[in-house]
Subunit: 314 residues, 2 copies
């Protein structure tokens, strides 16, 4: 029998659970809304999601390992700082889920998890110097350098969304200003689309209606349909993505960057523009050779799959 | 008898040579102007400097190891990209000096060398997650993360002077714009001092005369004498230093940053301002604890001492 492991990726809006085997194959998956608070009942609802997905994979909950990917700074398995999941900061997600499921549970950073999946089984397989950059509500990051995952002093390495790219720029949920994620995230894309609509540079037709959160997906759909105004808005997004990626490449001499999260899965729409911009921008570009840049092989499931992988680790 | 090693740090204006023993003690040192071109005779003059310093230390040149620290991107012992030493790009410094001296010679990045010295014997001793940031003509960088020096894909990791902090900002010698070193370097300090003089915010008295390159040292002397206008100019420098350091700390979760180069040796003048600025700026500052920030124990000699250390390594 193959050893199975469960992974849970708790994002700002939804939680995704997968069960994987020892080769990284996804045997079952399911999703539910993210907990709205840190109460035991909200966490037990997550436990119910995990139990259901395990049952669908034909696995017992008792004795299984569960990794939980959390967006923010994680120490000793708990969120200690999290602009995007503030209600889970300090909450004992590990203990609550362990008791609810009878499983061994480990909390990890969501981007560390996504990189673990891609490094073991996906787009970063065999890479020596690689960054995971997750593009969603915010930006998450994780590095493998010289063939080893990087933890840092407290395990917080990779909080790249809060590198400042515009000193004194847009206010950020972290309390700072001009953070990279203010310019490269779902919210930023919505902002660029809104400005283009208002200035008449973009026509989304019927797609322009609905709530503000629908604007990003509408823009993506419009770009896939070949609308030139939409492509120009994505170029703006790509430009800001290139600014931060260039900083990571010069600082860390990366060979590869894997784009995760919901917007990472759309990378084919903008990755060409990013690479052009990078080529013009990088110190010593000619000596570095091309950067391998593309989406996660697991797409938006990378965090959950990697959480499953890390959950079983000592 | 103690094993001795020679180190040579080739900077933009001068070359410093040291001979160290196995405990990192400097037994002899000397300096000379940097080579103005990459000709064999210019390099042989460097060889003469090394031979003289070795003789002063009572050591033979034959069979000694010599490390040569070079400012720029170094691959296989040679500079491949160097905005500050363009005439040495592609030049076989190793081979020429090896033949001239009968020594084993190894070319390394100057900031990697400085960190090697500080990590073994100086301010970074025992640190697990530490960056060297050399502040001189430009900014050099090098990292130890999770207890291991970081090389990156080609050994170019640490080119942090060319992280962009102001997109579209000041033109840089690398061909880009808005690079960190345009805002935190000797040239930047001179620019800030010049603007303050022109706007009447600074009075350097007799010190204001002389060539533009004398303005930075005059400002430092004036700040040491307690002139308030000079302190304000250093605050501007400190602010920009904090911008880039914050980016490194969030990305890499550093515990310590060692400031090298000529301006690093003046760190006591501005490090308090940098730490205040960092505390207000860092995502999750309260969970990170204080950053240890201070000058290299070897001061401006760290690069030469570390080159000696790395020169003897396989």
């Amino acid at each position: 029998m193959t050893a199975l492991a469960a992974g849970l990726d708790v994002g700002g809006t939804k939680a995704l659970c997968v069960v994987v085997d020892a080769t990284g194959a996804v045997l079952a998956e399911g999703e539910a809304p993210s907990p709205r608070d840190g109460s035991p009942s909200a966490l037990e609802a997550l436990g119910g999601l995990v139990a259901g997905v395990l049952a669908n994979a034909g696995a017992d909950t008792a004795g299984v390992t569960l990794g939980v990917g959390l967006a923010g700074m994680v120490a000793d398995g708990r969120l200690v700082v999290s602009p995007h999941l503030p209600h889970l900061v300090g909450v004992d997600v590990e203990g609550t889920l362990a008791r609810a499921l009878g499983a061994r549970v480990r909390g990890v950073n969501d981007a560390d998890a996504a990189l673990a999946a891609e490094w073991a089984w996906g787009s970063a397989r065999g890479a020596r110097d690689v960054a995971m950059v997750t593009l969603g509500t915010g930006i998450g990051g994780s590095f493998v350098l010289d063939g080893r995952p990087v933890a840092g002093r407290h395990g917080f390495a990779g909080e790249i969304g809060h590198m400042v790219v515009v000193p004194g720029g847009e206010p950020c949920v972290c309390g700072g200003r001009g953070c990279w994620e203010r310019y490269v995230s779902g919210e930023a894309l919505t902002r660029y689309a809104r400005a283009a609509l208002d200035e008449g540079r973009l026509d989304l037709g019927d797609l322009a209606g609905g709530p503000p959160t629908a604007l990003g997906p509408a823009l993506i759909a419009s770009a896939r349909a070949g609308a030139p105004g939409a492509a120009a808005v994505l170029d703006e997004f790509a430009h800001w993505l290139a600014v931060g990626l260039a900083n990571l490449v010069v600082a860390l001499d990366l060979e590869r960057v894997v784009l995760g999260g919901g917007l990472g899965a759309e990378a084919d729409l903008y990755v060409g523009t990013v690479l052009e911009d990078l080529g013009a921008r990088l110190e010593g570009a000619e000596a570095r050779g091309p950067l391998a840049l593309g989406p996660a092989a697991y797409g938006a499931r990378a965090g959950a799959v990697g959480a499953a992988r890390l959950g079983g680790r000592p």
